[in-house]
Symmetry: C2
């Protein structure tokens, strides 16, 4: 076959919206992270605690993705942070077009950062850019320490990994080798930041807050 | 618009393979269940314990679906049960065509039942029939009691729900309202069988074994 010169990558519909979102947020100096995990790893609890504890330093707005219900957005709004709920009606990940619509509804001028809580799913959301500055993966210790090797894509593509529910580990209620997770995640992604935390007890959260706050400061 | 008479449903490629698998298994008198859950809810641990404890009564073969690795099939093979690993290479659910190929590799004459462990994902696998007699959904108490309302499709479509890691609940290490889960799951699916279990301690497993054994007996 002859050589084909492709001068410009043709963007998919999702990539086109992701690029729009990224340009829109960058032009306004707002940081944006896309939080991805299995169902029930504690994404919403992490968000609620982070928003509350950082309220004096970083003004956070939330885009909530769920298959059904607005339970999670209601939990965020109880902190007084603005939250826009997207119901995917069965779809397994958020799309950049959905995020584009939600961004228009957020009071961006009053915010430093947008955190997107994706649909609970460790597989599909990793393949769809939303226009974020980075992905953040959450893994609960109850899910087991084999997840980076079994679901490598999201660990390879994330800026940070929060290992949540460390309180369960402290009492030896679950078997989980944190060192194995660190080694396996860094084998996939040399630069990944790893924060063992408990959003329930607050353990380890300060290191995560420092990193997140620094993301805003570094853009100012 | 005029009336259109559709005499026969046109099957998708997946539905065609699902029908083939179903006919193939039924003709041989073999039961088949499709086990679906989030990553880390304990599907493989449930399988290992079930195969071991039922070995004198029900001969079980396993089809293991994973995005990557054959860790789970190796765990099954350690029980001496046959296990065929399918790696989806990034895809978020098993397809009926993949199961069709795996069925050819299992020693079906020596088995009563095939259990399929789907990719860890509470969303996508619920939409793809594999030719099974029924779906079984597993929910770990660590994932939270709001999962039936947030991910209704799989709870609406399953014959049985295993609520796993009850040992964590017994010690009050996690907050989880079992009654809420039962009410919400039965609102979606009046006939769903619900088994609170701990695959770790063995608590509640006998009820699940009785139900599963009865599935084989009812076909003989």
């Amino acid at each position: 076959m002859g050589k084909i010169d492709v001068g410009k990558k043709i963007l998919s519909a999702n990539e086109t919206y992701a690029l729009k979102n990224s340009q829109f947020l960058t032009a306004r100096g707002k940081r944006c992270f896309n939080i991805i995990s299995s169902p029930g790893s504690g994404k919403t609890t992490i968000l609620v605690r982070t928003i509350t504890d950082l309220s004096a330093k970083v003004r956070i707005g939330v885009i909530e993705g769920d298959v059904q219900t607005d339970i999670d957005a209601e939990r965020i709004r109880a902190t007084n942070a603005p939250a826009i709920q997207i119901n995917t009606e069965g779809a397994c990940h958020l799309s950049a077009a959905q995020v584009n619509t939600a961004l228009d509804k957020l009071p961006l001028d009053a915010l430093d950062m947008v955190l997107i809580e994706n649909v609970g799913n460790l597989v599909c959301p990793s393949a769809f850019e939303l226009g974020e500055d980075g992905k953040i993966v959450v893994l609960s210790v109850a899910e087991g320490d084999d997840k980076p090797v079994k679901y490598p894509a999201i660990f390879a593509r994330s800026k940070a990994l929060l290992v949540n529910k460390m309180d369960l580990l402290a009492g030896s209620h679950v078997e989980f080798d944190l060192e194995r997770v660190k080694v396996d995640a860094r084998r996939l992604n040399k630069g990944i930041e790893i924060f063992p935390v408990s959003a329930k007890t607050g353990e380890g959260m300060q290191n995560w807050y420092d990193w997140l706050t620094n993301q805003v400061v570094s853009r100012r």
